[in-house]
């Protein structure tokens, strides 16, 4: 009997380190929405990476006849200015993704930090930080972007990627912070946190060792939400024309297409591809966001009995 028990344990132990990377991914793939989102997003990332090396033509050069419909040589046709649309789409994927991801990562970090400390620190700090969060929630991000944008236009500078990311982070972190704050408030009342306070853990230690672990699915979900906001924000900034319009991304592509009234002049091959790609990217972020929410919030989860037939215990079931 004992022998058997030990055997089991050694089996469990070998793939332990490997597990640490694979396990979150596996959890992600147990949810259909998350799985679909993950596959689309992976496709997008591969598309973005390849686009940095293998564009059929130079995406910056105006070297072809303008307004050519899709053909064998130009599968998505050319712009009014004679650029190859597919090359632009291919090349512009990476910056679009990068801005989305950067806003997602930086924004989520800030909201974790602010949200958890508000939810778990003293009452007074909580109300101060909650006030700050609410102020940022009330400020309309769009207005702020336009304000910054027109300022930059005024001084004859255009918003590069870095300032764009910065503005989007400033306008986008508060929503996640509010989520983290309220979740932390409810977790802080749970017995296993009270227990840690009783044995003498410091609040900082509880924050890092327990709360962040407990809300991990929410962190991931929030990352995708903020990344979606980042992508949308970039598109919006570029669409308003306050960004640097010489940068190639899906936002600037839309700007030029719409500015040249591509939708009126019948250049659908110019306007549709970036719109389509942006929509698909946002869709994948939304799927991942919803999926992770379901994983993290048991009440949203439809329990899948088939999955558990193997005798596996679903790790995220609230026991």
């Amino acid at each position: 009997m004992n022998h058997n028990l030990f055997k089991n344990r050694s089996i469990n132990k070998i793939p332990f380190k490997f597990n640490k990377i694979i396990k979150p991914l596996k959890i992600l793939l147990t949810n259909n929405k998350a799985k679909a989102g993950f596959i689309i997003l992976t496709g997008m990332i591969i598309f973005g990476i390849l686009g940095q090396f293998f564009t059929p033509y130079n995406p910056n050069k105006y070297e072809f006849a303008g307004s050519m419909p899709p053909s064998y040589a130009h599968i998505l046709g050319t712009t009014v200015y004679g650029q190859d649309v597919f090359s632009q789409l291919f090349y512009g994927a990476a910056p679009t993704l990068l801005v989305g991801f950067s806003v997602g990562i930086i924004g989520t970090f800030i909201s974790i930090f602010v949200g958890i400390s508000a939810g778990f620190a003293s009452e007074r700090l909580n109300s101060i930080v909650t006030g700050i969060i609410n102020i940022f929630l009330i400020i309309p991000g769009v207005l702020l972007i336009m304000l910054f944008g027109s300022y930059f236009l005024g001084i004859h500078e255009s918003l590069g990627y870095l300032p764009t990311i910065l503005i989007l982070v400033i306008t986008g972190w508060a929503f996640g912070a509010r989520t983290f704050r309220s979740i932390t408030l409810s977790i802080a009342k749970r017995d296993f946190i009270l227990s840690s306070m009783l044995i003498g853990e410091s609040r900082l230690s509880i924050m890092f060792r327990q709360i962040i672990r407990a809300i991990f699915p929410v962190i991931i979900s929030n990352f995708f939400f903020t990344a979606m906001y980042g992508t949308m924000g970039l598109t919006f900034v570029e669409y308003l024309g306050v960004g640097n319009l010489l940068q190639i991304n899906w936002g600037t592509m839309l700007y030029w297409a719409i500015n040249n009234e591509a939708y009126l002049t019948g250049l659908w091959w110019w306007i549709l591809p970036p719109s389509f790609m942006i929509s698909i990217l946002m869709f994948s972020f939304i799927l991942l966001n919803f999926g992770m929410d379901e994983i993290g919030n048991p009440s949203l989860r439809r329990f899948n009995r088939k999955k558990n037939k193997k005798g596996d215990i679903n790790e995220f079931t609230e026991n």
Binding site: F6, K13, I199, E201, I313, E315
Partner: protein, 262 residues
């Protein structure tokens, strides 16, 4: 000299109902209890009588509305964070629900290691973990160390939790209905474990329960609690045989007779 004593301890919760209305709930009403060294006392009361509130007030998870708490005859009611931390090295609490008191993201080993690290345990921490697991009869310890809470039964979890509190090496242990969520068959084991711990480690234990059967098995003295008030106190056997308070009589009548059943 008593180890822990309360003096007219009261706790009033103010619960808001809507914007303007608020309702006061008197969870503790002038409670006086006393715990001596190496004593195992019981606090008995029906659901909602304020037992958990009393336990949580004694470990400073709640602040009393009025009254005093004495530890070693020293008034500690007004203690602030640093001193509370020191005081908690002397007193630990086992929670009612073993399914909620262990962190689902951490192993058994982690749960016992943390208090050892925090009290700066001098010896070999690894050996000490095994020792503690043995003490709560989780054998062999190596088998349990890497388990996560969801891989354990309720009884096993409560043992792990007990080991976690014992790692702190407290003088007092408050067990808040430690077996109410458990299977009847496991209850006796855990209660015997409490008794054994008291005898072996010279702990003082406050055992909280709504169940008169289990309280008569292990405690020396009991307090009967009703609506936040202590309505009766004294030797366990005496009270169960000759209850003077009407509420205690009710409780005893309501409880199934253990001698009939076994």
């Amino acid at each position: 000299m008593s180890l822990l004593r309360t003096e007219n301890l009261s706790k009033i919760f103010i619960s808001r109902r809507g914007l303007l209305k608020s309702e006061n709930i008197t969870a503790l009403d002038n409670v006086n209890i006393e715990l001596n060294e190496r004593e195992l006392i019981g606090i008995v009361g029906a659901s909602g009588s304020g037992k958990s509130t009393l336990a949580k007030t004694l470990v400073f998870l709640y602040r009393p509305t009025s009254g005093n708490i004495y530890f070693n005859d020293k008034n500690i009611t007004k203690y602030k964070s640093g001193k509370i931390k020191k005081y908690r090295k002397n007193i630990q609490m086992v929670f009612q629900d073993p399914y909620a008191s262990l962190d689902p993201n951490h192993t058994v080993e982690w749960h016992i290691k943390r208090p050892l690290v925090l009290i700066k345990y001098k010896g070999n921490i690894n050996e000490r973990i095994n020792e503690l697991l043995n003490m709560v009869t989780l054998n062999p310890p190596e088998y349990y160390r890497n388990k996560f809470p969801h891989q354990l039964s309720g009884g096993q979890r409560q043992r792990v939790y007990l080991a976690r509190t014992l790692a702190v090496e407290p003088k007092i242990l408050i067990a808040d209905e430690p077996v109410s969520m458990l299977d009847v068959s496991v209850r006796i084991d855990i209660l015997n474990l409490l008794k054994m711990i008291r005898d072996k480690l010279n702990l003082s234990i406050i055992y909280i329960t709504h169940d008169l059967n289990t309280v008569s098995m292990i405690t020396d003295r009991i307090y009967v609690m009703h609506d936040g008030k202590i309505v009766e106190k004294g030797n366990t056997i005496n009270i169960i045989k000759n209850p003077t308070d009407a509420y205690t009589k009710e409780l005893i009548d309501a409880a199934p007779n253990p001698y009939k059943r076994i």
